[in-house]
Symmetry: C2
Subunit: 397 residues, 2 copies
Amino acid sequence: MNYQFSEKVSHLQASAIREILKFTSVPGVISFAAGNPAPEAFPVKAVREISEKLFQEDPVSVLQYGITEGYLPLRDLMKERMTAQGNFKSDSEELIITSGAQQVMELACKSLCNPGDTLICEAPSFIGSLNAFKSYNVNLVGVPLDEEGMNPEKLEQALKENANTKLIYLIPNFQNPTGKTTTLKRRKELYALAQKYDVIIIEDNPYGDLRFAGEDVPTIKSMDTDGRVIYAGSFSKVLAPGIRVGYGIAPKEVIAKMVVCKQVSDVQTNNFGQMLAYQFMQTVDFDAHLAGLRVIYQQKAERMLNGIAQHFSKKVSYTRPEGGLFLWCTLPEGSDMTGFCQKAVQEYKIAVVPGNAFMVSENDVTYSFRLNYSTPKDEDIDKGIAVLGQLTKTMFD
Amino acid sequence: MNYQFSEKVSHLQASAIREILKFTSVPGVISFAAGNPAPEAFPVKAVREISEKLFQEDPVSVLQYGITEGYLPLRDLMKERMTAQGNFKSDSEELIITSGAQQVMELACKSLCNPGDTLICEAPSFIGSLNAFKSYNVNLVGVPLDEEGMNPEKLEQALKENANTKLIYLIPNFQNPTGKTTTLKRRKELYALAQKYDVIIIEDNPYGDLRFAGEDVPTIKSMDTDGRVIYAGSFSKVLAPGIRVGYGIAPKEVIAKMVVCKQVSDVQTNNFGQMLAYQFMQTVDFDAHLAGLRVIYQQKAERMLNGIAQHFSKKVSYTRPEGGLFLWCTLPEGSDMTGFCQKAVQEYKIAVVPGNAFMVSENDVTYSFRLNYSTPKDEDIDKGIAVLGQLTKTMFD
């Protein structure tokens, strides 16, 4: 028979990153295209011990149904931690455990947006979130980033032009894909604009704990006096992505709707992941663990930045992230960026993600591509950056 | 600030069952309201051993990202098993691992239905699925069940009246909430009607392996010559619901869209649950395990049925399920069913689910309520049914 798909999905394609990731399993390809945590960042020994303990002490609780809102001890612990960070107000807000932070974006958009409503995002931004928004047929409007974050003049212009704006989606810390961090001044300006135009902000902060340079900047959520910020956090980058545990914080009314949407989707997040996250934070010095991760990522980022400084054509510019997993390289204006990325993977066996994958439309012009330094081994960073540098020199010098 | 929710969710309420489940944690209440597997049905020892092995042998694979379609060895194994059962055709179909079977319904509806499209379901039917469909603003039309399954004359009438019907949702085996099984003749008639009106069937079969009486009936999927049946299966009732692992089978084009929708929701199902399900089926005699489960549920069902025969007013009728977790009691026509259920929990401390929770609209008239026999302990079945019987006699004799 012929299948007629819904308007929601008929325009959706599989994530370009995930498609590239499949390609990069070709033997011999060095991949800077992923966004995986470094394998050495996984606390394997602690996880092994906790897992054993869970199945010894209370196996039925791991295996039986739990409640949609999430495993209560984990929720209580995260509320405490988030209160200390200024991200949770117990009188007016709730916290939901989700199956990865990605689910926060999906549930928030489903709960709040009708088809055609405008959702403003950074351009470029995280492709997974953009596709989640697109899957609800919102009018997705990209506002360019400058060196301090989303440009406020251009945001205000977008807000004026789109009176039906419901949400502004921001990744203020070590943004994916650019590695940029929104400054404190800029966070205040963006929040003030959200107030002025009465829209909700989604603050996606999966990398916030992975700052390895510079100073912490307060979250937008911590400035939120109106209950207009939905905050998304994740255990994917600080514990393990395979357990699929994230969390969302929002005013109680909003979380109540997100709970209903989660109930009809996956009923609840898997118990093992939730209990592991809880036990890990209870039994291990979590802040010491985070400090260890920062060292790993700092060394990898520096390694890649040093390689770029040494090998890349001087006509290629790039960001210097203070945390997170990514940096963003920009080819000279007018370059054939897609051709560069194709040549890189096909002829030079180096995979990177073309920047247009992160734009609202893949046809939007960008001369940039994303490099990931968390996944590859050190020797592959050295070798791969040298090879990629050769390509930049061949093409641009 | 004031929150304006989307049209999709503004009419949605939290599942009445889940709300009742919260209430049933009140001490002293015997609950027949849940749908949990019996705790003694969990293969704790095997799970413990597999978990230990997984974290000893390849912890990084458990913790790292996997692909959206699911853990490849589990997919291959399930394709093999489903092929043997007539539920999978490798040339034209694909299998996706989902975060519980509930997600199959959500992804299928999102992929195929526009707001206003008609989706026909059994009346009554599983509330979780109905809410998933409602969350995409479909026109949900309930067709009554008779003793053989969904009534075909009434289905045809509904198909004629709703030319925009996209999907028919069926639970042919030991239906939730009624415990009824659709006969082979009826399955053929329903499939023929789906062909005649060119609509897709979703066959939800979470309880299929839990038949403890009567003879297996071929799935509708096994009769599917057109690629018009989406099949949903689950490990929740045959291994453990807390791991959140289910699967969907459909034509490749349909699965491709469901994969995109899953990618933007939870990215992938948690690795631990998938690897546990795979290893369990590899290392344990799965069919012997299922045989063990059937004995547990047969004994519990018989215990409840004997109690009902002994204690209930003869004016209350009930189904005799051949498998699954539920039976369905019907009070005399004109009774105050909701009042009965309220009195049961508040005065008699016995929780049941009022039947209108499973109707398309909670205002639809039904005199029935659902009893679950898998979750309560044997002594609670005995005691609770005797107490509930007292109430039926007080009210109806």
